[in-house]
């Protein structure tokens, strides 16, 4: 099983990098709360979700070291998200294309 | 008995077409696969223990053939099924509406002409009808095998289906979605009348075995109503408690209502229970019985009472 050892060499992230990510996360949190006080209609949820996804991406990539993981880990990190979109997407397709008689 | 029930609606023949085509294709593939399987198993059976076998690991042309041919067939079948489905789901503009309500465990039908029936659906031959359906409590499903139509009905929202009955006759209507203890008793009859007979029924003159019914003795008529109007879904005649009290030994029995007052099950009590079931609830039972006011005539109520009297 020596073939695996190379890819599993640990990558150690520096404290400084974590602080930068944390500052970015805090700024984004402040931003999303601030924006929520204005009414942009449907745009609100879009902005909120985009900001949340950037934050989630930062946490996953740096705090969780996904950036340094092998393709298999990437696959299993992304595949459930794809499935989740499928579940949400298709149930929405069903719910909102029903024809109501009367 | 034929392999598929009588086709008694305009849609039935089309659905049968789909079923038939798939059946033929299935039989073809099934015979092919099992014939080859048995042929190989016999022809290449082990005769000696040291037999040599060739090292064959696969064949790309074969893989492609048996991927592509079924794929094409399957897509064609999908399209065929879809085309018929689309027609089944698109009611014509001239269809008349009947509102169907399912509840544990009976069907009520409200007609466009103001009539209302229980567990009996009257439709006119060759006129398209649209069912606007809703459930009162849990899921049910409106299923008429001879018409090849089925649609679940749900509480809280309407679903629909349509058909044009093409043959005069009486057909079974089943509840096809499991709905509890009385599920298998949630049956109704679909009565397809010729245009003339339908007009008579619409004017309010009983056409279903009118003369016949009148000549029955009350207790026998009551027994008939007990089955046809769905009393049997909730009231047993053998003493067991299903949903409502059993009819066995009911007449003359005494008991208490939920508010504590007591009653004796005499003629008036039974009549009131049939026509205004929500007024007084016997202790230990749920207020679930629908009113049969306007569904059973006075004579019919009398007949049911006479029938209950016979169940000692």
């Amino acid at each position: 099983m020596s073939e695996h050892t190379h890819s599993e060499e640990k990558h150690i992230t520096s404290y400084k990098a974590y602080f930068i990510v944390w500052v970015v996360l805090m700024v984004l949190t402040f931003l999303t709360v601030y924006v929520s006080y204005f009414d942009f209609g449907q745009l609100n949820i879009v902005v909120a979700m985009v900001v949340a996804s950037i934050k989630a991406g930062a946490v996953a990539l740096f705090f969780m070291h996904l950036k340094f993981e092998d393709p298999i880990t990437w696959l299993y990190a992304l595949f459930p998200i794809g499935l989740l979109f499928l579940l949400i997407g298709m149930t929405i397709v069903d719910t909102f294309t029903r024809i109501f008689p009367l | 008995m034929t392999w598929i029930p009588e086709a008694a609606s305009n849609l039935a023949g089309k659905v049968d077409g789909v079923i038939l085509v798939i059946t033929l294709i299935s039989i073809f593939f099934f015979v092919l696969i099992s014939a080859v399987l048995i042929y190989f198993a016999v022809k290449y059976r082990r005769r000696r223990d040291d037999e040599e076998t060739p090292y064959i690991t696969g064949s790309e042309p074969l893989e492609i053939i048996w991927t592509v041919i079924p794929s094409i067939l399957l897509i064609l079948l999908f399209v065929y099924g879809f085309v018929v489905y689309k027609e089944m789901r698109t009611p014509p503009k001239d269809a008349v509406d009947i509102t169907v309500t399912g509840k544990q465990w009976l069907w009520t039908f409200d007609y466009y002409n103001g009539k209302k029936t229980l567990n009996e659906l009257y439709v006119r031959q060759n006129r398209p009808v649209r069912m606007i359906m809703r459930a009162d409590d849990v899921l049910h499903s409106f299923f008429i095998p001879q018409f090849r139509v089925k649609q679940d009905i749900l509480p809280g929202r309407y679903t629909q289906l349509w058909f044009t009955p093409t043959k005069v006759g009486t057909y079974d209507l089943f509840c096809a979605e499991y709905c509890g203890t009385g599920h298998s008793q949630m049956l109704a009859k679909v009565i397809v009348l010729s245009p003339e007979a339908y007009d008579i029924w619409e004017k309010g003159i009983g056409v279903d075995e009118g003369a016949n019914v009148a000549s029955l003795p009350p207790a026998e008529l009551g027994a008939k109503i007990y089955k046809e109007k769905g009393c049997n879904a909730c009231h047993s005649i053998d003493g067991s408690v299903v949903i409502g009290p059993s009819f066995k030994g009911l007449y003359g029995k005494t008991g208490v209502f939920e508010d504590g007052s007591s009653y004796t099950a005499d003629e008036n009590y039974i009549m009131k229970s049939i026509l205004e079931p929500q007024e007084e609830i016997v202790e230990g039972f749920q207020p679930v019985m629908p009113s049969f006011k306007g569904i059973l005539s006075d004579d019919e109520v009398t007949a049911v009472i006479a029938y209950i009297k016979t169940l000692k």
Binding site: E3, T91, V93, D94, T95, T97 | W3, I4, P5, V15, V18, I19, I22, S26, F29, F30, I33, S34, V36, F40, A41, Y44, R45, R46, R47, E51, E52, T53, Y55, I56, T57, L62, W66, T67, L74, I75, L77, F78, Y80, G81, F82, V84, Y85, K86, L139, P145, R148, V149, Q151, D152, L154, G156, R157, F174, C175, A176, Y178, G180, T181, S184
Partner: protein, 537 residues
């Protein structure tokens, strides 16, 4: 693997150690496999007896043996026990546990303790569900709302039991995926893996990612009953069909959790008894992954009449037809493997061929249910009952029995009586067809499922089906006795009675505790049977 050395070379079979704790604290994948095997077999027999009782009641149109309510409880328990306690853990947990490390050349699974924990979780789920039997639910195994939210019977306990079981399934799946990724012996590349491993991998992915959805759905149902929330209650703005969407998002992949391992078993048995390399290895391997993936896309084909939109029904019908393609590929490849083989009709091979035969019927009748117009008529009738049993019994259970007979000597180091095994196969095969083939006709005639009583015109076919169930029951009884008796036989099984090339047959029967004295180095694929031409080498 430099530091892998075991001092003693004395062969100690894994079954050697005795005592209760040596079983319930074991982390040996083979022993855990046996624990699962015993548990699921018990539930199979119990649920099978429930089925016999139901068929007995259905012999006549009236409700004369049990009351309608009891009948409803019977089919609910039969379905729940068969699905959640037998067939979902089924082959994956029992034979998967036993075979995966052996086949890939590993001493154990990646997380042995977690493996044991999975079994305990399974037991806890079992106990909760048995407790729920004090007031058995009458909802059907699908727990459809709003009936499940309103019935007086105890739905919370049984769904909670199933919820707990789900975690057993999830952890097992996770364990197997990691094992297959990380624990393969040197030289065991992906394209040398036995097809059972490919099948187990596909199954594990489904267990891992589909099961949590049913978990949360059942939690929502429990909240509906206990906290009064209204996700599925139209009176509170909820939607009963949403429950079905969520439920089938798991339960359709679950069908493949049940069947894919059986397909893997068949792919192992057929080459060995034909002495031929499996035909189209890559096609079978990738079709397992293909089926697993597509199975996430087809869930609403259980719901064409349930009130989903026409648009959704059309999309799902189309995707459903796609899933037939990889399935067909497998069947064709199995049959092509027989070509020019040297076929021995061992009982395991009979089960494998029976599988191909019955599964073909199950698959083809699935096409009826995938086609929109035909499904409208056939949905929720006995046609569906027959189709499902052809896939589940004709497919999975045949595969399970085949696996039992095939790996029996390896697992226990003993032999069963082969003639009796063939006889029981014959009874099971005939009994099964007599039981379920008439149900296709019942369904086409319009006989709805889950009926405690039924109109008289269906009586003759229903009675025939009941007679068949007796033959089937007798066959299973004989098989069970034969296999249990085999355990007490004095005859020792040889290491490799069938001349298989797979790794598990290269260790003694039963295997030693750590499987391999030394981790093997693999140089060829598993299916190198037959005489190679120079070019191929």
């Amino acid at each position: 693997m430099a530091n892998h050395t075991i001092a003693n070379n004395v062969y100690v079979p894994f079954l050697e150690q005795k005592g209760f704790l040596s079983w319930f604290l074991t982390t040996d994948h083979k022993r855990i496999g046996i624990l699962y095997l015993i548990s699921i077999s018990l539930f199979f027999l119990i649920a099978g007896i429930l089925a016999l009782l139901m068929r007995f009641e259905l012999m006549t149109p009236m409700s004369d043996f049990v009351s309608p309510h009891t009948y409803n409880v019977l089919f609910t328990l039969h379905g729940s026990l068969m699905v959640f306690f037998f067939i979902v853990p089924g082959l994956a947990a029992s034979f998967g546990n036993f075979l995966i490390p052996l086949m890939i050349g590993a001493p154990d699974v990646a997380f042995p303790k977690l493996n044991l924990a999975s079994y305990w979780i399974y037991l806890v789920g079992t106990i909760i569900t048995l407790y729920a039997l004090l007031s058995p639910a009458d909802t059907g195994w699908t727990f459809y709302t709003p009936y499940s939210a309103t019935t007086d019977t105890d739905v919370v306990m049984i769904t909670f039991g199933v919820f707990v079981l789900g975690f057993s399934s999830i952890l097992t799946g996770m364990n197997f995926i990691v094992t297959i990724h990380k624990m393969r012996a040197p030289g065991m590349t992906w394209h040398r893996l036995p097809l059972f491993i490919w099948a187990s991998y596909a199954t594990a992915v489904l267990q891992l990612l589909a099961t949590p959805v049913v978990g949360i759905t059942l939690l929502m149902l429990i909240a509906e009953r206990s906290l009064g929330v209204g996700f599925f209650d139209p009176a509170k703005g909820g939607d009963p069909v949403l429950f079905q969407n969520f439920f089938w998002f798991y339960s359709h992949p679950a069908v493949y959790i049940m069947i894919i391992p059986a397909m893997g078993v068949i792919s192992e048995i057929i080459p060995v008894f034909s002495r031929k390399p499996i035909f189209g290895y890559k096609a079978i391997a990738y079709s397992s992954l293909g089926i697993a993936f597509i199975s996430f896309l087809v869930w609403a084909h259980h719901m064409f009449t349930s009130g989903i939109s026409e648009v959704a029904a059309t999309i799902f019908s189309f995707l459903t037809f796609l899933v037939a393609i990889p399935t067909a590929i497998k069947v064709f490849n199995w049959i092509a493997t027989l070509y020019k083989g040297s076929i021995e009709l061992h009982s395991a091979m009979l089960y494998a061929l029976g599988f191909v035969f019955l599964f073909t019927i199950g698959g083809l009748t699935g096409v009826f249910l995938g086609a929109l117009a035909a499904d409208i008529h056939l949905h929720d009738t006995y046609f569906v009952v027959a189709h499902m049993h052809y896939v589940m019994i004709g497919g999975t259970v045949m595969g399970f029995f085949g696996a039992l007979h095939f790996w029996y000597p390896k697992w226990f180091g003993k032999m069963f009586n082969e003639s009796v095994a063939k006889l029981s196969w014959f009874l099971i095969f005939v009994g099964f067809n007599v039981t379920f083939f008439p149900q296709f006709f019942l369904g086409i005639q319009g006989m709805p499922r889950r009926y405690a009583t039924y109109p008289e015109e269906f009586e003759s076919l229903m009675a025939l089906s009941t007679y068949g169930s007796w033959i089937l029951g007798l066959g299973v009884l004989i098989m069970t006795v034969n296999l249990i008796k085999g355990l007490y036989s004095t005859e020792k099984a040889p290491q490799n009675p069938y001349g298989s090339l797979s790794l598990e047959w290269q260790v003694p029967s039963p295997p030693p505790t750590l499987n391999f004295e030394e981790i093997p180095t693999v140089t060829d694929w598993t299916y190198g049977y037959g005489k190679k031409k120079e070019v191929d080498a």
